[in-house]
Symmetry: C2
Subunit: 323 residues, 2 copies
């Protein structure tokens, strides 16, 4: 299971180690970049970039550089997001701004962002203009998604449509872009690369909805964190938004009272209300709908069906996970 | 005087207005970008980009986009530098992080950085790979310069060489890159573009040294700020570094006592010591040497000599200024 993904993740990891991208001066600038990359992460984006390339002419050094561009950009956003969210921990380790300083985290993040663009230089020149265009558009969407996420925290009412748009920008488009870039570098047609983009975007939305679901309805032991964190923090998740849409006026009042309270039964009372309102199964239906959209786009990709098996495995793995 | 520069600065300003680059959603993300551009700045970098292009095939829309990439990048660094320096004011106006928030300043800066790369997309495709390479290298050097500047604040001893390297990275290379990019887009040979880069880099160093000189030896009324700010703040300027190099052990002790003191005569006592040590004229000599290097590179540029007049005017204007 997931053999293909694991294989690509390891190959990318080795490539990254060999490049020693951040073994340079001044140390105070580059050490935090090495640090954020060293504390793990599943390398999902570069791995799917390699997987997409494997559908076509295969994984040349160019493809690794495209994958590296994505992974560097992603890690830059983690450094800056952690400052903005005031997060002390990332993947169980101290965040960059906590370990060094906010100043360091800003500047090291900035240089990592630019070095992502430098990775694109390593791709064959005739592809650079189109890749730069895709990369720029996606990177801007990621910033917009982060802004919308922060804006929503200040808003009383967020529609389901606006929420899906936000998570698409904030997380799904980068997964989509990874596949599109991998495919293009390996010689895919623009149409096929666009299909893989659609696949990745819908899969990314489904994945994020699954995250929302597990935070409330998951098994705490398996998920590896306290269940109900989103409810405690009054986060505007798909579940919270759906609950407000489904609720009667009386139930809306109850939700708001629960949200603004800090009682010991806040989480379990909210979950009980969610169950009454069928919120869990509505979320499951949405996950299923986006997964189907993703698989449909994958079906339309013009390569032999057996080559797509690793992507189907990936979908099963990401969507059926209970952690 | 400086007619050519003013003309190009105005033309660029009009281009920027017409593009309405930041008239888009979400407003909380893009409004700070409009704001930083609206509070002025002399548009030196885009103007010299246009001036460089005028030496060759002239100023096409491509050239404006190259100039915009540079100006957006520069303004992004201002937003982030102001956070790092804890600066309340920029060009006499409230800084972005003060007016909005640090979080906003980080994210709006990030998107402005990426939009600088997006401007490069608008240049003809066959030039994009080489321009991207120059832009990436320069942008990384600017980050390294900012890091070195911060590192130096923590160090007791900084050499003159290290200081020149720092100001070159932090400010001069972007001026140099502006001219190189403008020239390349307008059809200059790589050799000529490299000569303009050398011109811009040395001019940028001379300009920065002139800034150091004026902060201590300028006429307060003309410079428009209190003289001696660098001395008050114990900044490691070219003057402070030169003083330590020239000083006897006794004088070094005197300098250190002055530096760590806060007496009312701190500035005038330090200036007196600088005068004894000839620091002002050594700085003037360095400014002259870098100006000569710049002019020599300009002489070697393979275009009719009369075309270079605007650049020679620019040098006189920047270096002979007493404000």
């Amino acid at each position: 299971m997931m053999q293909s993904f694991q294989h690509h993740a390891q190959a990318f990891e080795q490539f990254l180690q060999e490049q020693q991208l951040f073994s340079r001066e001044p140390r105070n600038l580059y050490e935090p970049c090495s640090y954020i990359l060293s504390i793990g992460g599943k390398r999902i984006r570069p791995s799917v970039c390699l997987m997409a390339a494997a559908l076509y002419k295969g994984i040349t050094p160019d493809v690794y550089w495209g994958a590296a561009a994505i992974e560097l950009f992603h890690n830059f956003t983690l450094i800056h997001d952690d400052i903005m969210d005031n997060a002390p921990l990332r993947r169980g380790k101290t965040t960059v701004h906590e370990l060094y300083s906010t100043t360091t985290a800003i500047l090291s993040g900035d240089v990592m962002n630019i070095m992502a663009f430098q990775c694109l230089e390593r791709v064959k020149p005739e592809l650079i203009p189109v890749l730069l265009g895709i990369f720029n558009r996606t990177a801007i969407e990621v910033c917009e998604g982060q802004q919308l996420d922060m804006d929503f925290e200040q808003q009383d009412h967020v529609t389901e449509e606006a929420y899906i748009h936000m998570i698409a920008q904030k997380t799904a488009v980068l997964l989509a872009c990874s596949m599109q870039i991998g495919a293009l570098i390996a010689g895919a047609t623009e149409e096929d690369a666009a299909r893989l983009y659609t696949f990745g975007k819908n899969l990314g939305i489904a994945f994020q909805l699954q995250d929302d679901y597990l935070d409330t309805f998951g098994d705490g032991d398996k998920v590896g964190k306290q269940i109900g964190g989103d409810i405690q923090a009054n986060k505007k998740t798909f579940l919270a938004i759906t609950a407000m849409l489904q609720a009667s006026d009386t139930q809306k009042t109850a939700i708001n009272i629960l949200a603004h309270g800090h009682g010991t039964t806040k989480v379990q009372d909210t979950i009980q209300l969610y169950n009454t309102l069928n919120v869990g199964s509505i979320c499951k239906q949405a996950i299923d709908a986006y997964t189907q959209k993703a698989l449909q786009a994958l079906n339309e990709v013009q390569v032999a069906d057996e080559k797509k098996a690793p992507f189907r495995e990936l979908v099963q793995f990401l969507i059926n996970r209970d952690y």
